[in-house]
Structures are given as C-alpha cells and as structure tokens.
C-alpha cells in the first residue's frame, strides 16, 4: 500500500500558481515519469510531496495516510525518498558521512544501517573506493550515484528523482538510468522520475504525466506517449 496520491494540489509562489489543481497517482511498484517544460511544476510537485512546500489547497496521501500537514522530516520515516535537483550532496562531508546522514532515521538500528551500506557499495562500487574522500571532490556522475545511494539509505518505499541526468555526460546518463532500471526491476522500488530528457524517461517508465502550467496536460502509458504526435512535437522534438 505505498500508493502516492496527489489530489487537486495548488501551490502559490508570490502570487503565481506553481501548481494549479494537480492530480497524479503512483501505485506501488510502478515506474512513473513526470515530464514537461521548465516551470511546468515538476520540481514543485516533488518538493510538495517531501513537505518542503505547503500546498494552499488539495491533499497528498501516501500509503493510505493523509500527509498533507505532516512535517517534512517525518515523511522520510513513512518511506518517501527524494533525490533533489542538482544532487545536493554535502561537499564538506566524506562519502561515508553523506551515506550515514541518509540513514539518519535508522540510526538506532546499527545492524540494518551497515547492511544497507554494504548493499549500496555493492550497487555502486565506485563509492566504496571513495568512502573517505570529501564528497565535494567527486565527479558529477559519482556525485549523482552518491545522492541516489544516500536517499536509498533510509530504505524508502518510493524514490523520487529530480532531473538526475542534469549536467552528466551522455554515457553517464545511460549508466545511471541502468541503475534505476535495476533498482526498479530487482528490488521492486517504486520510482517517480522527473526528467528533461523525455525520450529516455519514456523508455524507462511504464506510465507518464506531462505537466503544463501546474496541471496534468497529458497522461498515459509510456509506450503510447512515445508515439503520440502531440508529445513528439512538443517534448521529444529536435533534441534527440
């Protein structure tokens, strides 16, 4: 029951509506992409789900619970993981320390934390080599791996990623998406992916929402959207 449900969500930023009655749903085990142009409300949606922004109207439900009014830091314990835009790793902390901060809510169960840590190093072997290094010295790709691993340290039921491909070399983008696919396929992790590279995202996800001005404009199965004429013109266009 890790259904995530946003209903009629409105968020106002200094007079302008960043979200304008947004309704989306992510079911347990799904891989959903959230697409749209800049300013469509993708990042705002994720920040609302994490509790970093308070909606003026509407509700957010997760796992059958209404979390609209719940403090942001408490939502992590419910199983919401958020890899923010621009990675936001802590550059003055070592790789190890970054990962430990990711397991803040599990701090009382030492065994589980060290087990999860081993799992992360298995998944991202590069991070093991860099354990004692300051996170600020990592390459863009490594930093993105760290940001994902750090979020996974809290053992989330849903992982939300905000433009993980931003600023990465094309080869690195493909590698990172392979990791996401693996996490989804092997561990059954629910994923909500915000992405500018729409074509890649549609190849990975099973469903997608396309946002425009804080609302859902088009919704459907990824395989349908990728051949949809409206989508192709507006979002897949010339960039690939």
């Amino acid at each position: 029951m890790s259904n995530l449900e946003l209903k009629n969500l409105t968020i106002t930023y200094g007079g302008a509506k960043a979200l304008n009655g947004l309704s989306i749903e992510v079911k347990e085990g799904e891989f959903v992409a959230l697409l749209g142009a800049n300013g469509a409300g993708k990042t705002t949606s994720l920040r609302a789900i994490s509790g970093l922004l308070k909606p003026t109207t509407g509700s957010i439900r997760f796992g059958g619970e209404d979390i609209t009014k719940l403090s942001g830091y408490k939502r992590v314990a419910l199983g919401i993981g958020h890899v923010p835009e621009g990675r936001q790793i802590f550059p003055d902390h070592t790789v190890d320390e970054n990962l430990q901060l990711g397991s803040f809510i599990k701090r009382k169960s030492y065994k589980e934390v060290s087990q999860t840590l081993e799992e992360m190093f298995g998944l991202f072997p590069k991070l093991r080599e860099r354990r004692k290094q300051m996170a600020g010295t990592l390459s863009g790709g490594e930093a993105q791996m760290l940001a994902i691993a750090r979020s996974l340290m809290s053992r989330p039921r849903i992982l939300m990623l905000d433009e993980p491909s931003l600023g990465l070399a094309p080869q690195m983008v493909l590698e990172m998406f392979r990791y996401l696919k693996k996490l989804h396929a092997e561990q059954g992790l629910t994923i909500l992916l915000v992405e500018q590279q729409a074509r890649l995202a549609l190849q990975l996800a099973s469903r997608a929402y396309i946002l425009e001005r804080g609302q859902v404009k088009i919704a459907g199965l990824a395989e349908d959207l990728i051949i949809d004429k409206r989508v192709a013109e507006a979002y897949l266009g010339t960039s690939h």
Partner: protein
C-alpha cells in the same frame, strides 16, 4: 616579561574562548552570529551572585537553578532570533533580531540589578603556584572547563551522527529535511546548549572577573573577535582566538596601560581581516 602576565592572559583568554565557543555552537547549524550570546554570560554571573552570594545556596543547588534557567533563556532566545528570520525570509534578519534580543535581556538584567556587579566568593580560596606565578584556583577551574567543553564539542562535530547533522543543516536545510533530519530541533538544541555553556562560563568566572548587568555586549564583542581571529565556526579556532586575544590584552595592558588592552584586540581583528579573512582555522567559503 613577567610570567604572571602571561598566566593571567591565558585565564582571561579562556573566558573569551568560552564565549567564542558558545557562539560557535549556535553558528554551526544556523550560520548566525548571535550578538545576544554574551547575555547568557551575564545570566550565569547573576544567578551565581543571587543564589550563592546573597542566598548562600550550596553550589550544586545553584548549579541546578543555573542550568534550568539557562535552558529557558536559550529556548526564548531561539524564538526571538529564529521567528523573525523564518517569518521575514530575509537572510539578514538575524542581525537586528540578535541585537534586539541582546538589548531586551540587558534591560531585564538592569531592572533588579541596576548598580550591582555580580562578584561573589570563589569556590576554592586557594592559589596555585605555576613556576612562580600565582593564580587563583577559580581561574584554573575556568580554564579547565574551557578545555573540556572545546574538546567535547569538537569531537561531537567530528565523530557523532548528531554532529554531522549539525553541519548538514548549516549546509543545506532542505536537503537535511528530506533525509529525515529534524532541522528545527537541531537548531533549538544548539541555542539551548550554547546558552547553557556560556551561562556556566559566567557562573564560574563571576568571582574572578567583573560582570555588570550591561556587560553582555562587551563580552559578546570579545567572543566575536576571538571567533573571527580563530576562524568562525571552528571550535579549535574559538580556543586559539580566545587565548590569543586574552594574552595580547593582558600583555598590552601591563606594558601600555589599561585603555590600550581592548584597542590592541580590535587592531588584531582588523589586521586578521586583511591578512587572513577566514581566521587561523577557518575554512575558505566554498560557493554553492
């Protein structure tokens, strides 16, 4: 030069170091320099004077009252500073908020204690002899307390998850929240523990230093100077900066006279800001 002057300098330096350290405790998660921090020092001195000096309470009882009242003051101070910061959304709101808090506390101290200095008798009336320099045991107590507090806080920051969370909150509040770190609690705890620390310092030092109801801002400035010279945010820097200006103050005072003491520390501050703007132990500020 007379060793006595250096030993006295180390003692007064440890007082400045304690103030700088408590400012560091608040600065670490918030990036706020709390100009009301010195009021905690006055509170500690006032409680010592009232409970031990006037009411003749035993030290442990006075100590208990001290910690409770300091915690309350830290809590109130956090609200006085953080509410304006959070509500206004202005990055610089803390400057006026902490100054306002300082002035409010200062006027509160002035109500009952207008013409009082908070001196009371020393816990240990003995003098120690260090290579011919005589120093009150009370001063050694202050110095020892400073060393323990600094080492404790330094290790807390480096080795514990709570310490790492403090640094994380400072770096990025939103990212800390999405990792499940209760950022508001981290900040509250910082204000409360910082105030308890500085109130203990005032309580211990009051018998051997002159503290008046309006001294808060003077001590704040001394601690601020020490923190800048040592490197803002660094516990090691707080200690180094405190001891440096303590010794400088003491040496200049004895050779050139009293009025030159504070002048020399301010000059040292100006010099450091030109030569080494991040202080001795400060990190270069990394742009995001």
């Amino acid at each position: 030069m007379d060793l006595q002057i250096w030993v006295e300098g180390l003692y007064i330096g440890s007082v400045y170091a304690l103030i700088a350290l408590s400012m560091t405790v608040v600065y670490q998660p918030t990036r706020i320099m709390n100009f009301a921090q010195g009021e905690g020092f006055v509170l500690g001195a006032a409680i010592g004077y009232q409970t031990i000096g006037v009411w003749h309470w035993p030290v442990w009882q006075a100590g208990a009252a001290l910690i409770l009242l300091a915690m309350a003051m830290g809590y109130v101070m956090e609200r006085m500073v953080m509410l304006p910061v959070q509500l206004s959304g202005n990055r610089f709101a803390w400057i006026i908020a902490t100054l306002a808090a300082a002035l409010i506390f200062q006027s509160l101290f002035n109500l009952p204690y207008a013409n009082v200095t908070f001196g009371y008798f020393e816990f240990f009336k003995t003098r120690a002899n260090i290579f011919g320099a005589h120093i009150a045991m009370q001063k050694i107590l202050v110095f020892t307390f400073m060393v323990f507090a600094a080492v404790f806080y330094d290790q807390l920051l480096k080795r514990t998850l709570w310490g790492r969370s403090i640094r994380a909150v400072a770096h990025n509040n939103d990212t800390s929240i999405i990792l499940g770190i209760p950022t508001k609690l981290v900040i509250k705890v910082a204000f409360i523990s910082g105030t308890v620390l500085i109130a203990c310092a005032g309580f211990l030092a009051a018998p051997v230093i002159i503290v008046a109801p309006a001294s808060g801002l003077f001590f704040t400035i001394q601690g601020f100077t020490a923190a800048i010279i040592g490197g803002v945010g660094s516990p090691k820097g707080a200690v180094a900066g405190g001891l440096m200006i303590g010794i400088l103050d003491s040496v200049v005072r004895s050779s050139l006279g009293g009025t030159w003491g504070v002048f020399s520390t301010v000059m040292a501050l100006a010099l450091i800001l030109v030569v080494r703007p991040n202080g001795f132990f400060g990190k270069r500020v990394v742009g995001r």
